[in-house]
């Protein structure tokens, strides 16, 4: 080249013994700030209620100290709900980040890929059909587990229908929308034909709510989520070149079909765990990765930050639903109120381009 010697700004590396990685200060700062904000809202959410507890007392109790009354109210009564919000938010956020990255399309969220619709249809079926078998199933495995199976089944159905010598993002979305529509039609049909008391119960579940979570339910969701996040964490490195497309990734030595199958399965399971724990909370999985991307200034959805935004959005929406309005609303109403306009904003922006 000519005399001007330009030193290209290649990202600096960090080395700790055998471990080395790219140093991205902005992404790290944003993720830490999001984690701090999530913790703050988590504590605020615990403090709010008929027996209000100050922020400092909440933090002291969570860290192991605190008075006995606080301990009982926080750890036994309020913690399951707050923890459920945290887990479901993270699970949905990461699930959305995975599906959007795999399909290379911001519209590819678990909502659209049929997972939420399938979980909803199965749950409504079990709630409304007052038959011996349905009641037996619910009492045997619980509504959450049945919803999980429904979400997983629909997710896999969409995956196999979309499979044609590999997975094409656009095809995945189209088939997901079709299957979701079918599931919603089944749900509506069940609601129209069912007994009015069952319909009220089913409706409450369908909007998505963190009401009345117990420790036993939360514990299952927590372990499932931790295991799935560990798998995602391990495979994430192999996934990085896949943002450039299958063929480029193959050229860079990635066994892309296997990596994608593992991660898509993780995404479906994470979403199904989230939906089974809190109901089909709308828009969190769609919006969280997109918000995280813009905050962290990344070209692709950042996994950890997406989980943080998901948790922040879900706990924050639950807090708003319980405090800001005269009547207590299910959390799904608030996330839809925030998520809906955001989706419109995304679509309008895409149209303008």
């Amino acid at each position: 080249m000519s005399g001007t010697d330009v030193k290209p700004s290649v990202a600096p590396g960090v080395r700790l013994g055998q471990v080395s990685f790219v140093w991205r200060p902005w992404l790290v700062c944003v993720t830490l700030l999001l984690a701090a904000a999530t913790f703050l809202v988590f504590c605020l959410s615990i403090g709010v209620g008929d027996f209000p507890i100050g922020l400092s007392r909440v933090i002291a109790t969570i860290l192991g100290g605190g008075e006995r009354v606080d301990k009982f109210v926080i750890m036994d009564l309020r913690m399951p709900r707050a923890l459920a919000g945290l887990i479901v938010g993270i699970a949905l956020g990461v699930s959305g980040a995975l599906t959007q990255s795999i399909a290379r399309n911001p519209l590819a969220s678990p909502d659209i890929l049929g997972i939420t619709g399938g979980a909803g249809a199965v749950s409504v079926f079990l709630v409304t059909v007052s038959g011996g078998t349905a009641a037996a199933v619910v009492s045997a495995v619980g509504l959450s587990a049945a919803a999980l199976a429904g979400g997983l089944g629909t997710g896999l159905l969409v995956y196999f229908l979309a499979w044609r010598r590999g997975i094409d993002g656009f095809r995945l979305i189209l088939i997901g929308i079709s299957v979701s529509a079918m599931m919603e039609a089944i749900t509506t049909w069940l609601l129209v034909t069912a007994d009015i008391k069952d319909v009220a119960r089913a409706q409450a579940w369908l909007v998505g709510s963190l009401e009345g979570r117990s420790w036993s339910e939360v514990r299952v969701a927590l372990w499932c989520t931790l295991v799935l996040l560990a798998v995602v964490f391990c495979v994430a490195f192999q996934f990085k070149p896949m943002h450039l497309g299958d063929e480029v990734a193959a050229g860079l030595g990635v066994r892309y079909a296997m990596v994608r199958a593992v991660l898509l399965l993780c995404a479906v399971l994470l979403a199904a765990v989230g939906v089974s724990a809190a109901g089909p909370v709308p828009f969190v999985a769609l919006v969280a990765p997109q918000v995280a991307m813009r905050l962290a200034r990344c070209p692709t959805p950042p996994m950890v930050a997406s989980g943080m935004v998901g948790a922040l959005l879900l706990i924050g929406a639950d807090l708003i639903a319980r405090t800001a309005l005269p009547i207590t609303l299910p959390v799904g109403v608030v996330t839809a109120a925030i998520g809906g306009p955001f989706l419109v904003h995304l679509l309008v922006r895409a149209n303008l381009r």
């Binding site: 497309g245 066994r255 070209p299």
Partner: protein, 291 residues
């Protein structure tokens, strides 16, 4: 631009062929595209695969890179069947640039080129000082250092293709396979990209590419593979291979082959139906037309 070697060629590899297809048959979902094909890629030169649309040239390239698995036969890389090698091992020896790749919106040039280091990294070792050095040299060699901070989607087509080649270069392989590197580029940018490909060859790399433009293929390659209907019609130096008869046979193209006034290779002048001074066209071609 000074051509700089990023990887040293393994000693002794220069003489023997590094990549070959032996009796491969390839197809898509039952439809056979290539039938029992043998080809050897000579080391250290630019080999270009040409042929009419749908003749299987991209299929052959994709088979050589293991993107497609042959139903029969084998692709041999450095004496080993490529199907038996680990994907990462192949990626350390063979760089690949698919046709018209797309980068995520907002990804910077430096970050894209850095992705080329992936085969040399591991979960724990995701970025080393070696990587930074190789990426800097790959950026410099392709003349895109100044663009390092720009998003790839903000660049012109020619710059973008340079950046993708830079990524393949950062992979550090001395075997590069490019599937139509000049697609969507105007002639000036196509020449620019092919000059860059020639620099890579001058620095000791073996290049295999698919090109549509016959005159560019003739000008820039030392070895042409002419395909038609899934088999190889001719292979060799453009001076030996490119004749009016071959062009008629392979492409059904009526053309004159003359000496290139500026190069040392033949030049193809297509005849077509109109705007032709018939007295300039050799009798044989006129007869083809009238008959």
């Amino acid at each position: 631009m000074s051509a700089e070697r990023i990887t040293e060629i393994e000693s002794g590899a220069q003489g023997s062929p590094r990549l070959a297809a032996q009796g491969v048959s390839v197809g898509y979902g039952g439809r056979s595209v290539i039938e029992d094909l043998d080809v050897t890629i000579p080391p250290g030169v630019i080999t270009t695969i040409i042929g009419p649309n749908g003749c299987g040239k991209s299929t052959l390239l994709r088979t050589l890179t293991r993107l497609l698995k042959p139903a029969k036969g084998a692709v041999v890389l450095d004496g080993e069947d490529i199907a038996g090698l680990r994907t990462r091992e192949v990626a350390k020896k063979l760089g690949l640039l698919p046709q018209a790749p797309v980068a995520p919106e907002g990804l910077t040039v430096a970050d894209l080129v850095a992705k080329g280091r992936h085969p040399h990294q591991s979960w724990l070792r995701q970025w080393s000082s070696d990587d930074a050095g190789v990426v800097e040299r790959a950026l410099a060699m392709t003349g895109v250092s100044e663009l390092a901070d720009r998003p790839v989607d903000s660049l012109s087509g020619g710059q973008r293709q340079r950046v993708w080649i830079s990524m393949a270069l950062a992979q550090g392989t001395d075997l590069l396979l490019l599937d139509e590197p000049t697609t969507y580029l105007d002639l000036a940018h196509a020449i620019d990209v092919l000059d860059l490909v020639d620099d890579l060859h001058e620095s000791g790399r073996t290049v295999v590419m698919v090109l549509h433009d016959l005159n560019l293929a003739t000008r820039y390659s030392d070895n042409l593979i002419v395909m038609r209907a899934g088999s190889i019609l001719a292979q060799g130096h453009p001076r030996d291979v490119i004749t009016a008869e071959l062009l008629d046979e392979a492409f059904g193209l009526r053309a004159m082959v003359i000496d290139d006034p500026v190069g040392d290779r033949p030049l193809i002048v297509p005849i077509g139906r109109t705007h032709v001074r018939l007295e300039q066209v050799p009798r044989r071609n006129v007869q083809v037309r009238l008959g």
